[in-house]
Symmetry: C2
Subunit: 339 residues, 2 copies
DNA sequence: AATTAGCAGTCATCACTATTGAGTGCTAAC
DNA sequence: GTTAGCACTCAATAGTGATGACTGCTAATT
């Protein structure tokens, strides 16, 4: 199973050539272009071995060979292991941002545009998950005699709010007091924890249980917020740039997949803390993506919660370059959010 | 120039047939299928006239005829003028909404999904323009010794907020007072008007000008909010369903157009208060859309501001059905937002 | 034992051709 | 004014053969 140095060299040449040309590469091409002092016949034998080992595929019997997902995996792993992914300083990412953009959503949106333009692939971005957010401050603000606004400020500047009905006999002072208590009790907690705490509060304080229930219900609905906007997608048209995805059916399936954000979100969220996650073809676990790779990097918010940014493109992809771009954009994004 | 009843009848038949079949329709087809007691030769003569008048196009010299944009225009105008656009009660739109969705964005997003599924075209939605929103309530809430949250509640439940720095010597009461004054002075105004008013306030009151300036700056940035999310797009993949748009170049251009939201936004915003706006092919004014039609309807928010919802598809489109669906969805959307 | 040259065989691609059929315009007859 | 008939056009389709880039295999070479 262990590959000889020569096999690796040949495999590398095939990968390089195929990434550049996009057409199956034959033994003669390798023999001539990458002069390693071997005849095409020898290359042929080695290629035959490599195919048997699962690193090469042959679209049809008299065509050249194409790297398999396994080959790309080997290649990408060696890139990452050998620390070949540096910052690509030639990339001018700053120019995509204007200084007055503040909201997290907008910063991420811009980065996604940047990524799509820089790579010419479809860029994806996942906003930080709510499960990392913790509450900083809660304030109930009356807006009419019968309604109030509950504002929940999270660490990291994210803000949720809801209008709730209140009975008209609650005055501003009472609301202020309740706000103070809630901030004390719920500060530092995540949205997932507060339902229980509020339940306790209702039992122990035994006041305004109506109001607290309303608040509890409101906070429950925070989870619905921007569900549709959790995922940004830019450059879907770029999918049509690549002949291997160009069959109408494939392209349509991919576009439909992008519409149904849930599946993609799950995929992007599952990135076990790695700096990069590279999913090649079948590794994505989604049938429609069997000819695609998804490469993602994480960015970090000041409150340590993590979002994900990445691209989706054909498995034939200049992985080194893309990883460098992603590295650069991810770091820059983290920096921007730090301000 | 005025068309005989017979010409109109024949034109109608051609439009109907072409909308259904998608292939250029010939004289014999009309003569046989729509038995109006005329031979194909007569139809041929009439078709020749209709072509000269600009209602029909001929893809090539020996093919059948295809309705021109002008023909569709005539058809659509007659549909609308004769009040043929009813609610299509067979359309189950309610099932697309679950009851706990509250935020405007999410309701509209759902409606957009619904529209895309019902029509099998690409659905677009434009959120109501900020210029219609008016301020209901302003509240400044301290969140730490050096920062406060300014919350601006608009009529129609939209809420803006920003974190601003405050000097630590401003206490909660002062903030409350300022909030009250601001609400009094700015209530009922639109975001566009307040800069001047705040300027006046700074001059006349001559207190806390620092804070008021901060607030002014913050409110200025409201205009940046969700600029990227003003436009919803669902079902881009549906563009690939229609052979007339299927050339790779065309499809790519369309997808790129959808990415660059500004152009579409302008198009959708320009709908001069009509119940429906139908733009056929060249009428869109966008080159890439010369084979597409855009049909939009308005929906109304409780605060009377208007958003737009619509679809984009090939010029060959069952206009009657689509207009009915749009009518139904638009009305339903207005109802939902009313609650 | 590894490498290479040579050769037969496979297969996608492309250009070319012929065929088919839907559709037109025109003219003469009804 | 309407229709029948006919010559003509043209897109679409299928079939053909040539081309060229491959491979796998075998026998010769190093």
């Amino acid at each position: 199973m262990d590959l000889s140095a020569r096999k690796i060299q040949i495999l590398q040449a095939i990968i390089d050539d195929y990434i550049m040309s996009g057409v199956p590469v034959g033994s003669r091409t390798i023999s001539k272009k990458y002069n390693m002092g071997l005849s095409s016949a020898t290359i042929r034998n080695e290629m035959s071995d490599l195919e048997e080992l699962g690193f090469l595929d042959q679209p049809h019997i008299s065509s050249g060979r194409v790297p398999s997902a396994k080959a790309y995996r080997l290649y990408v792993d060696s890139l990452i292991k050998n620390g070949k992914i540096q910052n690509n300083n030639s990339i001018e990412i700053k120019k995509y941002f204007s200084s007055h953009i503040r909201r997290i959503e907008d910063v991420v949106q811009r980065a996604t545009y940047a990524l799509s333009e820089l790579t010419n692939y479809t860029a994806l971005a996942l906003l930080p998950s709510k499960s990392f957010e913790t509450i900083r401050n809660i304030q109930i603000v009356p807006i009419s005699s019968e309604s109030a606004l509950i504002v929940v400020v999270m660490y990291g500047e994210k803000i949720y709010n809801r209008v709730i009905k209140i009975s008209s006999n609650i005055d501003k002072n009472t609301l202020d007091n309740i706000s103070t208590v809630l901030t004390e009790r719920l500060g530092g907690k995540s949205l997932y924890e507060i339902s229980d705490i509020l339940g306790d509060l209702i039992n122990t304080l035994n006041i305004n249980s109506d109001l607290l229930n309303h608040i509890n219900e409101s906070i429950d609905t925070f989870f619905d917020d921007s569900q549709g906007n959790l995922l940004k997608t830019v450059g879907a048209g770029n999918l049509l740039n690549y002949p291997e995805l160009l069959s109408v059916d494939k392209a349509k399936n991919l576009l439909t997949l992008l519409d149904d954000q849930n599946e993609i979100i799950h995929l992007l969220q599952d990135n076990n803390e790695m700096e990069f996650t590279v999913r090649i073809g079948p590794e994505t676990g989604i049938d429609d993506l069997c000819d695609c790779s998804i490469i993602t990097a994480n960015y970090t918010m000041p409150n340590r919660s993590k979002g994900t940014i990445g691209i989706i493109g054909p498995t034939r992809m200049p992985y080194k370059r893309i990883l460098e771009i992603l590295n650069t954009v991810g770091k820059e994004l983290t920096n921007l959010l730090d301000e």
